[in-house]
Amino acid sequence: MSRSAILETRGLSKAFGGLVALDKVDLSIDTGKITAVIGPNGAGKTTLFNLITGVYPVSSGEIYFQGALLNKVPAHKRASLGIVRTFQHVYLFGNMTVLENVMSGRHPRSSYGFLEAALRLPKARREEETISLNATKYLNLVGLGTYAEHDALSLPLGQQKLLAIARALATEPRLILLDEPGAGLNTLEKRQLSDLIRNIREMGISVVLVEHDMPLVMGIAEWVIVLDSGQKIAEGTAAQVQKDPKVIAAYLGEEVE
């Protein structure tokens, strides 16, 4: 196991009935880097995210996070380990304000429970103050500080996506998985997104993104992994991957023999 990897998979497979979504994939995600996972539709990119975050159980193979086996860790415990994700469909909490969305991201980093909440004991009040301070910090980081009291779903899509990232960052992850963060954004928003992702890397957080927007990927990814039909077909720097005949074939739909 290489020491610089924050996340590794060995022979990772996932089958839904007869459909093999991921087929014996070996991956190594470098600590502190921006890694992109690309591939045509149905390549298994989102399935990979779902396995890493525990949405589905693994069919076979192993996932290691910072050297420890992750397979049996329940989904809700992975956030406190330091793995967090965003979703292609954003999934904001529509019944909350912008700030409350980020505050809910502090869940794994706060501990007061039912009883303390019910009686509003000093511990609850103290923690609530810290939660709100921290949430504001992450909201400002993505540039949404002025919208704190707005309804989350009243924001335009671009800002909703930034908000989802702020909510994820509030959990203080070591590794953040971004599922198509650029989809549906305009050019300006994409540039802001690239800056934010670089910013996140500067904070010492490893970033993995699934993205269809090639200019965005080529602009920020330090390492690119290419999946096709559930298998890893290539990896390397953006420039290397772009020239790989297998990658070109996968995107153009040719047979490679």
């Binding site: 809700h76 406190s80 909490f93 019944n95 869940h107 794994p108 909440a117 019910a118 609850a124 609530e128």
Partner: protein
Amino acid sequence: MLARLKRNWLYLAIAAVIAFFIVIPFGWFLGQYTTLMIFIGIYTIVTVGLCLLMGYTGQVSLGQAAFFGMGAYISAILTTTSGFNPWLAMLIAAVITGAFAYIIGYPIFRLKGNYLAMATLGLGLIMWILFKQLNQSFGEPDGISGIPYLSIGGFAFDSSFRMYFLVWAFCLAVLLISQNIVRSRTGRALRAIHGSEAASESIGINVVRVKVKILVLGAVYASLAGSLFAHHLRYVGAQPFDFLASVKLVVMAVIGGLASIWGAIFGAGTTHILSDEILLRFGDWDVVVYGLILVLVMIFMPEGLFVKLKEVFERLRLRYRRKGVEP
């Protein structure tokens, strides 16, 4: 300065409401409605638990009357057949009902949406049948009578007047506790689950556990309300805990505004007065009128009557203020 003035007005309004509630049971004021208000208080306690479960967490329960009935029956049986102290019986009822909710919570929350509704409906029916059996085992065919009054030292809650204050003290405690929960880390977790379970898990919320916890809290509320109900009437039968009772509780939560803790008083009040007072005048047509009102509420104010009224009030206030400012 302005904020302080506003806050003073708020305190004044709260004081006025509390004073109003205190004088209700006096003969020279609204004394004839004391019993009605006791029932409204009891139903409010159950409704608040349902609001937390349905309105905040987004989980349907069509069997809440089961927990309500468990409180009433456990209190009734323990005090009549075994001579338990009523307060101790109330506590035991709450613990048993809470534990029961905890045990069924894990399997039941493997289900979602319509399936969850069906499962809770089944739970309500099973418990209702059990209650009817309990009548025969521990009392008369129709119910259990001879339940003692609640009392503290030598002070017995043996009149509606006294019971009124006890019930509303419980009610106030439940409302305040629930409000604290809603505004806390747990409250955010509840709303997060309603918003998106996938996203909730991803930020470290143990979705099933939080759902079970809030089910248990609602069950404990319902059980306490059931015990109060039993000691107030000094008699329990199965009928107040049947399927229609569960539906009535859901209606109370919906009319009060599902995601509104204080609306529960309003929802419980409106629904109870409607179903037990006004609709009786429609004779056989009561169900039709009841249904019609429900349909209209759902179409025109799906967020609940209470929330809608609050909105209208807010709009009027703004318009009034704007007029006041203009030269």
